[in-house]
């Protein structure tokens, strides 16, 4: 075990970075694919139908019990979908600007895979008991990087809509860009109170997502200010959490905000002219976007990798260490924290699907109205309220 760690530490930093990056891509793509399958299954279950359950490779058919069970579960549809996307004819409409048309799906993937690098997805403790986050790049401007790169996703939608040289995709792209810009504002304003809270005046300021989680990992200290560190921000700032969540739905183009691709009025929206793997890339990008959005929400408002409010990861590791000292190994702690974090993120993925079949799609003017006339004033009011509150409380913290 230690030999591996030694070997890892002796690797060239560049090589380390490449391996870590590949590892994240290797995790994101399958999760994105699995989410598309789960989406189909959850949608089916909510609509009272069994969902995909037919595909099965012939050589698997004779495996007793497990074969039919996996078939009912629809796991082979993932393979079927993938095979279809790779091998079906990838037609290129004659009326498009080929370079930009092909560029758009690639551009869609870039922010999706770039933002992952600054999102911490777990943590372990070094000998001194300090929390070391598991993250590709622990930037001090964490959340800014997420917002800055994440909003680049809008370019791919505009590019796809425009390069398609066709009316529906064009309108879809326009709609998407307007919507993304409108909700970006409320989203950013909603997280400002969180960072006001964690930045003590006088101390060195930070926008790092790890520090947000660090702030949320404390234990119950009685009715004192110190207990604030054990609460999650969703408890102390529920309104900000709701605004952020609504904006997140809009940002990821999920129902009820999927203006960009409303079939009823825009056929398929910005990706009407796309097919096969190019279309698939848009979807992997959308799922990655959802994953990262859920991850950021979890880190900001749901305590990241802390299992429960007032029960931080450190206490759990402490209890487990009584059972066996093996649990204190950084690897075990890391896996545990990733597990907790992933569970929360996956719950959000489920929430996205759940809401999709609950709330009908908004009209476009309603989307704009909600964004500019409701959420933005609310976010500003929320910010002012917490700014004043924190100014009053901060000296006592």
């Amino acid at each position: 075990m230690t030999a591996i760690v030694e070997f890892w530490n002796n690797l060239h930093p560049l090589l380390q970075g490449v391996i870590k990056g590949l590892a994240v891509i290797g995790v994101m793509f399958p999760i994105g694919g699995a989410c598309s399958l789960v989406e189909r299954k959850v949608s089916a279950a909510i609509q009272g139908r069994p969902g995909p359950n037919r595909a099965m490779p012939f050589w698997f058919a004779w495996v007793p019990v497990i074969g039919p069970f996996l078939q009912r579960l629809g796991v082979f549809h993932l393979m079927a979908d993938g095979a279809k996307m790779f091998f079906k004819e990838d037609s290129l409409p004659g009326h498009v600007n080929k370079f930009y048309f092909l560029l758009a799906p690639v551009v869609a993937m870039i922010p999706a895979l770039t933002t992952v690098t600054v999102v911490p997805f777990g943590a372990y403790f070094d000998e001194a008991g300090r929390m070391i986050p598991l993250v590709l790049a622990n930037l001090d401007v964490g959340i800014l990087a997420v917002f800055a790169i994440g909003s680049l996703g809008v370019y791919s939608l505009i590019l796809a809509g425009w390069a398609s040289n066709s009316k529906y995709p064009f309108l879809g792209g326009i709609r998407a860009s307007a919507q993304l810009i409108s909700y970006e504002l409320s989203m950013t304003l909603a997280v400002v109170p969180v960072f006001l809270m964690i930045n003590v005046p006088g101390g060195s300021g930070t926008l790092s997502l790890t520090d947000v989680v660090g702030f949320q990992s404390g234990t119950w200290q009685g009715l004192t200010m110190a207990s604030l560190h054990g609460t999650w921000f969703i408890m102390t700032m529920p309104l900000a959490a709701i605004i952020f969540l609504v904006a997140l739905f809009a940002e990821t183009n999920r129902l009820p905000f999927d203006m960009a691709e409303g079939e009823a009025d825009l056929v398929g929206g910005f990706h009407t002219e796309y097919g096969a793997m190019k279309w698939g890339l848009f979807f992997v990008a959308e799922y990655s976007h959802m994953l990262i959005g859920s991850g950021v929400f979890t880190l900001l408002f749901l305590g990241g990798w802390n299992p429960l409010p007032f029960v931080p990861l450190a206490s759990v590791v402490g209890w487990l260490a009584h059972l066996s000292p093996l649990f204190q190994h950084p690897l075990a702690v890391g896996l545990l924290s990733i597990g907790i974090f992933l569970a929360k993120v996956l719950f959000f993925m489920f929430l996205f699907m759940w809401v999709r079949w609950t709330v009908p799609r908004f009209r476009y003017d309603q989307v704009m109205k909600l964004g500019w006339q409701k959420l933005l004033p609310l976010a500003i009011g929320n910010l002012i309220f917490y700014a004043v509150l924190i100014a009053l409380l901060q000296p006592k913290l």
Partner: protein
């Protein structure tokens, strides 16, 4: 007096959306765990109600003789011209079919054209063609979708019938019965 539905202005709680959405989420969550209502088709088949108009078929009389006399009325009435009949004589060497006037040599129904209107059944003077409860016709080629005579009889089978027309004809011929 027309019935007027009064539109109440939304209450504050309703305008806040969130409680309404939560209520909606509860409803859909219940459906998530409710049993599926889908009929899984090839394994489960729907019950076919009596008088269902499925694929048109040719039927035989209780003696196993073909009833169609190739009068071509169905061919004539068929709106999309799905039926093609080649009329023919009944071969003389089949004593059990004596007194049957004629029989079709070939009888094709193109199921890619048939609109299941049932006019052929209505018009048939011999009650030889019936739309029965077979509803699932598939094939890989166009040619496969044309039912020929053998296939039509295979699908149709024998239906009970009370007329015994050909028996009566035979009796009449043998015992000198005036009409």
């Amino acid at each position: 007096m027309p019935y007027v539905v009064e539109r109440k202005p939304l209450t504050l709680l309703e305008r806040v959306y969130i409680p309404q959405i939560l209520a909606g989420l509860r409803v859909t969550l219940k459906h998530l765990f409710a049993p599926n209502v889908t009929m899984e088709y090839p394994e489960q088949r729907p019950p076919i109600p009596a008088g269902y108009r499925g694929v048109p078929t040719l039927v035989k009389d209780p003696n196993g003789r073909e009833k169609c006399v190739s009068c071509q009325l169905c061919e004539f009435v068929c709106p999309p011209k799905a039926i093609r009949i080649t009329p023919g004589e009944v071969p003389a060497d089949q004593p059990d079919r004596a007194h049957v006037e004629k029989a079709p040599q070939a009888f094709d129904i193109d199921m890619l054209r048939c609109i299941y209107c049932g006019l052929c059944q209505e018009v048939c003077p011999e009650e030889a063609i019936f739309l029965q409860n077979q509803f699932s016709m598939t094939g890989y080629t166009r040619a496969e979708m044309v039912n020929d005579k053998a296939r039509l009889y295979e699908l149709g089978g024998t239906l009970p019938d009370q007329h015994f027309k050909w028996d009566k004809k035979k009796d009449a011929a043998e015992h000198g019965n005036a009409h």
